[in-house]
């Protein structure tokens, strides 16, 4: 067994709304090894967003252990949790979530700046990453001048620039047309082929088919965990 990047052990997450407790995750265990490409698949309300928040160290479990990059979230305060996110996780959001009034290169440089890397070096690395993803000629464009597919590639560059242990993508094709969506999925496959660990959250079975492993989730529990070693084309 390879090195574990994500290790969820019997994780429960409940939300308190007034007197009513809603169970989003009802005791889930999941291990992701370095180099895996995992899709977490489920309909809305299945608990997959909660799982993404927990794996992304954005939230804490009600009970159970969330261990990311060998650190147990339970043992970390807010500052240490932020540092773990910064170092270990690269986020790709559904709505791209590029920072407003900020050029592509500055968007990608921002995580490095938060790590305390100097602005010159941060911009250099950001430009390099954008060029790798084919956006070398769009460095100074802000999000209003980029197409959806370009924005998502900027977002992916931003996720990769810190060289994280894990790329966590939440419905990365959800706001894209078919062609751009396919291009983004191919980017993920290439990244995985380079050895990058990817966890992708989706409700779309076609998108999930691009992953080597699919974890089906329903009503806060893992329903099925299937691995396919051969690559399946998207759609």
């Amino acid at each position: 067994m390879g090195e574990l990047v994500v290790d969820l052990r019997n994780v429960r997450r409940e939300y308190q709304t007034g007197d009513v407790a809603t169970v989003a995750l009802a005791g889930v265990s999941l291990q992701v090894e370095r180099g895996e490409f995992v899709a977490i698949v489920g309909p809305s309300g299945s608990g997959k967003s909660t799982m993404m928040n927990l794996i992304g160290c954005l939230d804490r479990p009600t009970s159970g252990d969330v261990i990311v990059a060998r650190k147990n979230v339970k043992d970390l305060n807010d500052k240490e949790l932020t540092a773990l996110r910064s170092k270990a996780i690269g986020f790709v959001f559904q709505q791209f979530q590029l920072l407003p009034l900020t050029s592509a290169v500055d968007n990608v440089a921002t995580p490095l700046l938060y790590q305390g890397i100097g602005p010159r070096e941060a911009r250099r690395r950001a430009a390099e990453m954008l060029s790798k993803l084919g956006l070398g000629d769009r460095l100074d464009f802000d999000r209003s001048r980029l197409s959806g597919g370009q924005q998502q590639r900027v977002a992916i560059s931003r996720a990769l620039v810190t060289n994280p242990d894990l790329v966590l993508a939440d419905e990365p094709t959800g706001a894209l047309d078919t062609a751009s969506g396919e291009a983004v999925m191919n980017t993920f496959k290439e990244m995985n082929a380079d050895g990058r660990t990817i966890v992708l959250i989706t409700h779309d079975l076609d998108v999930a088919a691009a992953a080597k492993r699919r974890v089906y989730i329903r009503d806060g529990l893992i329903e099925r965990d299937e691995k396919s070693d051969q690559m399946v084309g998207v759609r």
Binding site: N53, D78, T82, Y114
Partner: protein
């Protein structure tokens, strides 16, 4: 994140919504403008008062008789012999009428002793002051205040002409400069000898002016004069005293205290508008934090600490406030410049005012920026990302 980058982010944000930023700054701009202008007016007024009082002489006291026979020439001579007294002059005063070429007006008549010019240092706008030579004291010559000359219809080219005081002919030899704070009323100055032939009874005098050797000795001279007069006039109760001692330095101190308190009060009232401006900034920053909740969530997700979010929003508030403060300072100084031309006092940019204006606006930015910035920093990343 270097401070420079955070500053650049704040400036970008302010530039992106110019109208909103300008309106947010308006309160600070108005506050700082009024504080700066009012401080400047206060300083100008102070300067004017100081100059007027300095003209009258900060090292002087005057003793004014409250009865016609309260003071005499001998008192002036005796006071002149007291320690620390540099010189003494005396005045006799009355009201009378003057006429020139059919114009008739009532004026204050002031008969001054030869030493008067040296103590009071009147500024002569045209012509000359009364003669000081002992042999020339009976000359029928007169110096008019500008107001008096104006009322009589006399101009500079009437110098040397004759006019009448209480029906007696006098030669018009000079006009005083009222703008310099001297002889503000309609007064006519003649020699004491002439005055005594006209209206005053010898040896009585109305006012004795005393000049001390220095500003520092004024108070001891005042005490000396008072104890001399007590002994000489033999009164027990202050109510029995037939004179009033008037200390220019004490007056100046009193006036300074009053003007100082007044400008502080007015500036304080203007300062309230700064606080209101600060509340405006806080309000807009709170709105901004709410509007940018998702951005905050994203920033937290990609590695911003609570401290970095706090600093980002605090910087925005402080930059807004400081920009407002700077604009207000510029407008305030321009207004002060205009007012100084109107009020005829010296314009200068006081470093203390600049420091106060910028320092206070930065302070307002911090105080009213902290709460919104803390609100932003305390957002849970997961809630912020989910926020619609």
């Amino acid at each position: 994140m270097t401070p420079w980058l955070i500053l650049r982010m704040a400036l970008q944000r302010i530039r992106a919504s110019k109208m909103r930023s300008a309106l947010t700054m308006l309160g600070i701009i108005i506050g700082v403008t009024s504080v700066v202008a009012l401080i400047s007016v206060g300083q100008g007024a102070q300067q004017g008062i100081d100059e007027s009082l300095a003209d009258l002489g900060a090292n002087q006291i005057s003793v004014t008789a409250t009865t016609p026979d309260g003071l005499q020439d001998s008192d002036a001579a005796n006071i002149a012999a007291l320690p620390n007294v540099l010189r003494v002059s005396s005045e006799v005063r009355s009201n009378g009428s003057a006429s020139f070429e059919g114009n008739e007006t009532s004026l204050g008549l002031i008969g001054v002793s030869p030493g008067y010019e040296a103590i009071a240092t009147p500024t002569v706008a045209s012509g000359r002051f009364l003669p000081a030579a002992p042999g020339a004291q009976s000359a029928r010559v007169a110096v008019l205040s500008a107001v008096a000359a104006d009322e009589l219809g006399m101009r500079f080219d009437n110098l040397g002409d004759e006019f009448r005081i209480n029906g007696v002919a006098f030669q018009f030899i000079g006009v005083l400069d009222d703008a310099d704070g001297f002889g503000g009323g309609g007064n006519v100055y003649i020699t004491q000898t002439a005055a005594r032939s006209l209206f005053a009874k010898s040896p009585y005098v109305s006012v004795i002016n005393v000049q001390a050797t220095a500003k520092e000795t004024v108070d001891s001279v005042e005490q000396g004069v008072e104890s001399y007069l007590r002994a000489e006039k033999g009164f027990v109760d202050d109510d029995d005293a037939e004179f009033i001692i008037f200390n220019q330095a004490a007056l100046q101190d009193a006036v300074n205290t009053v003007t100082g308190t007044l400008s502080l009060l007015i500036t304080g009232i203007a300062g309230i508008s700064l606080v209101v401006g600060g509340i405006g900034i806080m309000n807009i920053m709170l709105v901004s934090v709410r509007e940018r909740t998702r951005e905050i969530g994203v920033r937290r997700a990609i590695g911003a600490t609570q401290g970095q979010i706090l600093v980002q929003f605090l910087m925005e508030a402080v930059v807004l406030s400081l920009m407002g403060g700077f604009i207000g300072l510029v407008i305030g100084e321009l207004a002060s410049f205009g007012l100084s031309r109107l009020g005829d006092w010296d314009f200068f940019i006081d470093p203390a005012t600049v420091t106060l204006a910028l320092g206070f606006s930065a302070f307002v930015g911090i105080v009213f920026g902290v709460w919104p910035a803390r609100t932003a920093a305390k957002l849970q990343p997961v809630d912020a990302l989910r926020f619609e």
